[in-house]
Amino acid sequence: MTPLAKLLEAALFASARPVPADELSALDPDASAAAIAAALDELKSHYDEEGHGVELVEIAGGWQVLTRAEYTEAIERAQLAARPQRLSAAALETLALIAYRQPIGRAEVEEIRGVNVGSVLKSLHERGLIDVVGRAEGLGRPLLYGTTPLFLEHFALRHLEELPRADELAIALRQNVVDERSATSSETRADV
């Protein structure tokens, strides 16, 4: 490809929106409108004739490089199938605290966990596992969090009382945590 076509490809790749031809001319002050048009033609032909997974299209008065429609389905399927997302240890611990201590405010979770949990709370909320269930009395009336019906559904619980008692759990799990951790350590762990 010509240098100008390569520059246009890079610019269109990096732009978040379709770029009108006159904005593209700002890329190279020496390039005439005709030269820009010719380079766009060249890029378009290259994508079409060399068999690329992307194409150059004119949308809303601007130019944009897009993935070809025939691949969309496979891409979305792969994105979903690739890795069921796992909660990070931080998210799990926060969720556990909320399940057992709800309604609970952010400050209390942070005090127990010793770290900022703002982003974790946001992720858990986006996942629909927790929700705001009220406000505490006192300064600033902080939000209180609790678990959602989706949380129960996820663990096939009918109600929260079906969770085992925390003190039993600590004893029962203590011997097994290590085994279980080593069994799952090979799996990938995405942060929430």
């Binding site: 897009l66 069921p84 796992r86 611990e93 127990i112 079906e162 085994d179």
Partner: protein, 267 residues
Amino acid sequence: MTAIPPEVFVAGSTFPLPPGLARTDGSGKDDGGFLVELTSFSGPLDLLLALIRDEKVDIYDIPIARIAEQFLLRIHSLGLNEAADYLEMAARLLRIKAQLLLPRGETEEWEDPRAELVRRLLEYQQMREIVDVMEHRADERRRQFARAFLPDQPTPPQAPLALSLSELLSAVDRVLRFGRAPNMHDVVARPLDVPAAIEIIRSLLALRARLQWTDVVAADAPPWQVLSALLGLLELARLGELRVAQPRPFANVEISRDPDDPASEAA
């Protein structure tokens, strides 16, 4: 990477932002010293290294009196009087200076009071070398743009969440052990029956060499039964009586007698 001659100490400690790129968010909010340095030095060791470089002295033979004086001058002129980190270093320098003035015993082994400071300076300098490498890499990466346009997705696809009850309960356990004494004993009251679950699993395994999770726990079993079975299974696995495998995420858990267990051959 380029080797830095030992006598050339890490030069600038400032990371000037290119014009127009500083504070582009315009928020002006406190960013925790993250993007813009409060001073041109990232800490007292950085300042100290700059002085050693400026004064052209040997790091292994630091003239402490001179350097301490310069250090105090600098933190004064930089308006760093409030910075506890710098004051602590100033105090340390003065302490070393005082120690150097003490008469040395002739026979006893003498340890240079500057040794610990030199060690820390070298350690810091080594870290600065790594920072230089990393900064260079980050700058290279910043010169390349990633794909910015991402098509709108009406329903943002979220990957299915792989989250098991055992993971959640392990997290409870971690919080209990590591957390700052949360009281989590007062919510729930359903007892588990792990011994009974273990008996059930043992009985099933006596009949069949291989089981699936769904053989052990009915699909509509209440969670306390699921949990009891899970904990029982883990306990038996720990004892080496059986093996648990899950061929892929979400697949049925396969349970088999431990092939190394001679008792399993007889059954």
